[in-house]
């Protein structure tokens, strides 16, 4: 039974406007194996999973199931074929009970009436397999995040798939729950299924997986290879790609005697951060590194007043402050935040570029009765479009029509227009191609060179090593340590990874 190829894909291509999310991916899933799918953020893992489960249809390449070519047009078709999935996003109906959510794909019914009694038994069986004790009648809304995650996994078990794709299933689980999940994964593999496991935590991958595929920039750089042939460092090297680590930039020095622009002193937040201390000086790029879910963006949002700070002190230009809204952060303290989620939070997609850029400075441009001169608006916008090299057909073009990289530049431009005193940049280059990435790095570097303090959040280690002066490493809503960057990629990546994984050593 084991060894037969269940699902195979060759040369898969998926293009989104402005980015080739998948650019020639190959994957072979064999029965009885646990297959790790690895890659940095934006490497294309989630897109690949969505193609394999019929959410997106591929723009090129072929997909075969048991040796026969298949086209999966809908998630339901994928389920019927035998492919089950736990997506990264929450996929539960909040007002439905645990049992009903688990059986949602195929609810037991009799002549159009839902059979709630018949729903309970299989739901309880799926939960028991995971070793979870939950009241199957409880509405999902009342469960904790970890419990919801377990319900999602139980839901995938209910479909009895031959191929089960788990996208970051352990992100919100405790170690005991994770261990229980691993037992289930091994059991499923022993029964002849194939489990695809996506995780950022390499120890987990080495604990449970036997085969590995690595994606980088939408390409598979390692294809269905036995995991035993590779070491931790090999895999990390393949994921980040060492080639573009060393980049030459104009030299930049930081005045360490200057008053820090932003200081966090033992800050804790309602979101669960404890004891966070860091400082950013003029002209300095401080990197905040961590894996997805470490709480970096949440920390910044709390500082900007979008979440409650419950302890410690925030100081801007040396004096303690209490920021209650991003509006206050911008107008009173000059803090700009370039968001990670530019589609939803960073730009107004349906609005022209000029309005996107000048939204932060309307107050300054406004004359009597709040009238904003269109010409002045255009001047400000044109200046920034030229400075940042944004490729547009005209200032009246809608931001939504730009490529991902150019959208990101627009969202940066609006903060520069406001003459910010401190810039927080969150994941600036996720999902943009290598060339735009490089242009962006130069841009950030030059901004710091002109004296702008920058707090850079990134999960891209190469980017951190290229740009940051100091790297602050965060996991589980806590700071694990701080490293002075010597811009030697091999050495730095080793030190950062060690900080993340050898927590105890760092603490003592």
């Amino acid at each position: 039974m084991s060894g037969t190829v269940l699902l195979e894909c060759e040369d898969l291509v998926k293009v989104f406007p402005g980015v080739r999310a998948l650019d020639g991916v190959g994957l072979r899933l064999t029965a009885g194996s646990v297959h790790a799918l690895l890659g940095e953020n934006g490497a294309g893992k989630s897109t690949l999973i969505k193609v394999l489960t019929g959410v997106h249809s591929p723009d090129g390449g072929r997909l075969t199931w048991n040796g026969q070519q298949v086209h999966l047009r809908s998630p339901l078709e994928a389920t019927r074929t035998g492919i089950g999935v736990v997506h990264q996003e929450r996929n539960l109906i909040p007002d439905f009970s645990v049992a009903e959510n688990i059986t949602l794909q195929n609810p037991p019914s009799h002549r159009g009436l839902v059979d709630r009694e018949a729903m309970t038994a299989p739901a309880v069986a799926c939960l028991a397999e995971l070793g979870v004790d939950l009241d199957p009648q409880r509405p999902v809304r009342e469960l904790s995040v970890a419990q919801q995650q377990l319900v999602e996994i139980a839901k995938a078990l209910y479909t009895e798939s031959r191929v089960l794709l788990l996208d970051e299933p352990t992100a919100s689980l405790s170690p005991q729950e994770t261990e229980r999940l691993f037992e289930v994964i091994r059991r499923l593999a022993a029964r002849g299924a194939c489990v695809v496991f996506v995780s950022h935590k390499l120890e987990e991958v080495f604990e449970v997986c036997d085969t590995v595929t690595v994606l980088r920039d939408g390409k598979s750089v390692l294809e269905s290879s036995p995991l035993a042939d590779h070491t931790h460092d090999d895999i990390v090297g393949l994921m980040v790609g060492r080639a573009h680590a060393a980049t030459e930039m104009r030299p930049r020095t930081v005045d360490h005697t200057a008053t820090p622009t932003l200081v966090l002193d033992k800050v804790s937040t309602a979101g669960g951060h404890r004891d966070i201390s860091l400082e950013v000086r003029p002209g300095e790029i401080v990197g905040l590194y961590g894996l997805v879910g470490a709480g970096r963006s949440e920390l910044v949002k709390a500082v900007l007043g979008l979440d409650r700070i419950t302890g410690g002190e925030v100081r801007v230009h040396g004096s303690p402050v209490r920021i209650t809204s991003p509006r206050q952060a911008l107008h009173e303290y000059g803090i700009g935040y370039v968001t990670e989620n530019r589609k939803e939070e960073g730009v107004f997609l349906e609005q022209p570029i000029v309005r996107n850029i000048t939204v932060t400075v309307w107050k300054r441009l406004a004359k009597a009765l709040g009238f904003v001169s269109a010409r002045e608006e255009r001047d400000v916008a044109q200046d920034l479009v030229d400075r940042l090299g944004i490729r547009v057909t005209g200032l009246g073009q809608n931001a939504g029509e730009l490529s991902g990289g150019n959208q990101q530049k627009v969202s940066l431009a609006k903060w520069l227009a406001a003459d910010t005193k401190l810039l927080v940049i969150d994941e600036p280059t996720v999902g943009v191609d290598v060339r735009t990435k490089r242009a962006f790095h130069e841009l950030i570097w030059d901004l710091a060179r002109d004296g702008l303090p920058i707090l850079l959040i990134s999960s891209d280690l190469a980017e951190m090593v290229t740009l940051a002066d100091r790297i602050v490493v965060m996991t589980d809503h806590r700071i694990r340590g701080e490293l002075d960057n010597d811009r030697d990629y091999d050495r730095m990546s080793g030190r950062v990874i060690r900080l993340i994984h050898d927590r105890d050593a760092v603490r003592s």
Binding site: N91, Q105, G112, D476
Partner: protein, 347 residues
């Protein structure tokens, strides 16, 4: 009402459902209704408990209940139905004209009315899905079209020379319980059973609760939107029948004051505007509450503007209360979430 309760707490988990019910909006509304009714009774030195008063009170409760449920069905898939009043008014006038001017028997008229309302609901749903235009805009358009059609049907006259049978149905009240009120309760019970028990009902709620998850589970959200508007149309049809039966005549003003109460009832009853939740019992009780306010006005001969003011305050109060409750829930959930990674880190 009892029947609804039974539907809710049916099955082996009766105990926990009862506990959950005691903390729900419906339980709170039930208290408000009972206390309010008793208070009114005492204030009127008992005359409010007497048969005729009860009958009048319940008589004019049927339509608010039904239009509240019709709006609730649209809300549960995350849609709005602005055409509730216009469709009801149009259907009522259509039925009046059919009977009075064309001599169509009452039974046939009622069936034609129900079918017409359902068909218009279906057409609205299809238009929303087909054009991908926001339901707010589409129902705004159907509302305006139907208002025009209603005016066209009746002009400025009041149609009142219609069937005795329907009028008898409207005024019949064995044991002082009006039949139209019973009709509304039966419709509510059937709707509750449909929503809680049938696969089709569950699909509606799934699509409203998390459209993406529903789609990933093979539920077509488009079809659910069409189904919700169709069902909403049917309920409006029933409301039009009860209105035509109990009103002295129908004219172009019928339905004109339905729209806001149709939103007020489900919102007070605990239905979320974002979709995915329903509260049949809550909506029915909320209609009771607004009716109580109206009855109180009549009792103390207050200015009619008080009614709207009070209903507005009750709507705001319930929504604000629900919001507070939600925030408190979320806060406790975050503390939970914060504890878990902590234990994870210590291992």
């Amino acid at each position: 009402m009892n029947r609804l309760n039974v539907t809710l707490s049916q099955g082996s988990w009766g105990g926990s459902a009862l506990r959950r019910f005691s903390r729900s909006t419906a339980a709170m509304l039930l208290c408000v209704v009972v206390v309010g009714y008793v208070a009114l009774g005492i204030a009127s030195s008992g005359s409010f408990f007497e048969g005729p008063s009860v009958r009048v009170f319940l008589q004019y409760l049927a339509t608010p209940i039904l239009i509240g449920l019709a709006q609730m069905v649209a809300l549960c898939v995350g849609q709005l139905n602005l055409a509730v009043g216009a469709l009801g008014g149009f259907t009522a006038c259509l039925m009046g004209v059919l009977m009075a001017d064309h001599g169509v028997p009452a039974g046939v008229t009622v069936i034609v009315g129900l079918l017409t309302a359902t068909a218009i609901g279906l057409a609205t749903g299809v238009a929303i899905v087909g054009t991908q235009i926001n339901g707010f805009i589409v129902t705004l358009a159907t509302m305006t079209i139907l208002l025009g059609a209603q005016y066209r049907l009746t002009g400025t006259r009041t149609v009142d020379g219609y069937s005795r049978t329907l009028r008898d149905f409207g005024t019949a009240a064995p044991l002082n319980i009006p039949l139209v009120f019973v009709t509304a309760l039966v419709a509510a019970a059937l709707l509750a059973a449909f929503m809680y028990r049938t696969v089709a009902g569950r699909r509606l709620l799934a699509a409203g609760g998390n459209p993406l998850a529903a789609r990933l589970s093979g539920i077509s959200t488009d079809r659910q939107i069409v189904a919700a508007h169709t069902l909403s149309g049917l309920l409006i049809g029933v409301a039009a029948v009860t209105a035509t039966a109990s009103l002295p005549g129908v004219n172009r003003s019928v339905g004109g004051d339905w729209l806001l109460p149709s939103f007020a009832a489900p919102i007070i009853g605990g239905v979320a505007l974002t979709g995915g939740s329903i509260a049949v019992l809550g909506t029915v009780l909320a209609a009771f509450v607004t009716r109580l306010i109206d009855a109180a006005r009549a009792q103390f001969s207050l200015d009619p503007s008080w009614v709207n003011l009070l209903i507005g305050l009750v709507v705001l109060g319930t929504v604000a209360g629900g919001r507070l409750h939600q925030t408190r829930l979320e806060k406790s959930a975050t503390t939970d979430g914060a504890v878990l990674p902590q234990t994870g880190g210590a291992q």
